[in-house]
Amino acid sequence: MAIGGITAAGARSGARRRLAMLLAPGLFWLIAFFAIPLVVVLAYSVAVPGPTGRVEWRFTLENYQRLFGETLYVSAYVRSLWVGLLTTLICLVAGYPLALFIVRQPPAWRAALLFLILIPFWTNFLVRTYAWMIILSNNGIVNTAIQSLGLPRQILYPGEGAVLVGLVYGQLPFMVLPLVAALDRFDFTLMEAAADLGASRRRAFWRIMLPLTAPGIAAGSVLVFIPTVGQFVVSDLLGGAKVDFLGNLLQRLFTRSNPPNWPLGSAMAVIFMVVLTVAIVAYFRATAEERR
């Protein structure tokens, strides 16, 4: 490689310099505007909230104590995790047959179906949530249909049902895409082999297809679960801001409450991250077990 006067060592130091140049801006940005802010949250979470919303830099664990002591916060955690779980489950139950149908189509149809599933998600997600407000509103389409059947008008929005509909709507493709990828790698002749050996279709599904597509289920579930637990817009708009989810409390503690309480909000975010990490690690362990 040594051309002209360039020695091997010279070339190596040139490569080092090039590498440093390539890394410098990205490293700077990710450390300054991603890693350090996360450390700042950790620092805020053990600081004292001042009376005017200013943070006082004295060490305390009171924020964490408050989170575990007050029902408002505990129930927001429980509700967010529960609704996150429910959304994930609904997406899985609705998404699995859909993915199954897609992978069994001829290639051209498959591509078209995948495209059809993705198109609605190229619109702004606020707009998609807004569309459900229209559909579920008192004089909206669903209520018009209900009334034309002679049934009384239902209050569908705002409410928890509306929140669930909005969440499933927003997350479904994140479940379907990994499932399609997993089912794509699945060897369907295994099902025939199982049938030949006398297994019922149901048994073959539970014992063969489900365990072998577990990585797709795991990936899809994590992709659906994380944003659902942290969301605040869907519950704010479709839930009418009546029930508090984790995201709603975080948003209020940081931007709206009078005075704002950043230390408490930060403690909440830290616990959120810990709970989420534990849940995901446990989930991957469990699905790995399933595969064995």
Partner: protein, 274 residues
């Protein structure tokens, strides 16, 4: 295999797929149709009108917010694409200490809940601006600059993922051939590497642009009181009331983003066949 069972199952699958597609498209159809309704609550069809589009174009606040949002998306995409492409090269072409650590650092922004990243940035900016105020006596405020910084921070990782994919399939012998023919590293990059991975870079840039345009949570937390941005405006208006003006705006946004995605598909497909 029994003939009957798979057919029944197949029919069920077909029905399920049909129902899911209705579920996916109902809101989109409703949104577009009701942008032309004369009903001022925008939830029923009472006759055709274009008045909501007219009102939209007269709403200077919304137009200003749209321009700001496009500005943020453009600038942050340019920065994130340049930085992200450099990182992708470093990750794919070099072995160095801390590479695994960087790999992890690159993945965390993709999986972290958006709201945590958003409030971390808000907390960070407040702290940093407080320190700048204490040391230099000037207090910067949150606004377009902070939103751009935040958008770059959360889109870099996505750009890196896309560009790395195209670098992985790159035939290194082409670069060796160029070097053998006397090209210096810069010439090789400029005339061989760059044109070949350009579709990947454009794909990464379009992904970053789309993410930036669609983002609400991080924008909401890192913008300032004097700056109006589209998602924040829409959120405010939607919270106040349902009005067909939002439908008109949504329809236009829908058309714009579908155009953008088709454009990106086109660019990437051309890159693949070229």
């Amino acid at each position: 295999m029994a003939r009957q069972a798979p057919d029944a199952g197949g029919l069920l699958l077909r029905l399920h797929t049909g129902a899911t597609l209705v579920f996916l498209y109902a809101p989109i159809v409703v949104l577009v149709v009701f942008s032309f309704t004369s009903d001022s609550f925008g939830v029923r069809w009472t006759g055709f009108t274009l008045q909501w589009y007219e009102r939209l174009f007269r709403d200077e606040r919304l137009i200003g917010a749209t321009l700001n949002t496009l500005l943020v998306a453009t600038i942050s995409t340019v920065i994130a694409t340049v930085i992200g492409t450099m990182l992708a090269f470093a990750m794919e072409r070099y072995r160095f200490r801390g590479r695994t650590g960087l790999e992890a650092l690159l993945y965390v922004p993709i999986v972290i809940p958006e709201i945590v990243m958003a409030l971390a940035l808000l907390g960070f900016f407040a702290l940093a601006f407080g320190l700048i105020d204490a040391w230099f006596g000037v207090r910067p405020v949150m606004g377009l600059a902070t939103v751009i910084i935040a958008h770059v921070a959360f889109t870099i990782s996505f750009v890196v993922v896309v560009v790395r994919t195209s670098l992985k399939s790159f035939d290194l012998r082409l670069e060796e051939a160029a070097a053998d023919l006397g090209a210096d590293p810069w010439q090789t990059f400029r005339h061989i590497t760059l044109p070949l991975i350009l579709p990947g870079i454009i794909g990464g840039a379009l992904l970053g642009f789309t993410l930036s345009l669609d983002d609400f949570i991080i924008t909401f937390f890192t913008t300032g009181p004097g700056t109006s941005l589209l998602p924040v405006e829409v959120y405010g208006q939607v919270k106040r009331a349902i009005t067909p003006k939002i439908n008109a705006l949504s329809t236009l946004m829908l058309v714009a983003s579908i155009t953008l995605v088709f454009l990106s598909q086109f660019v990437q497909r051309r890159g693949r066949t070229a």
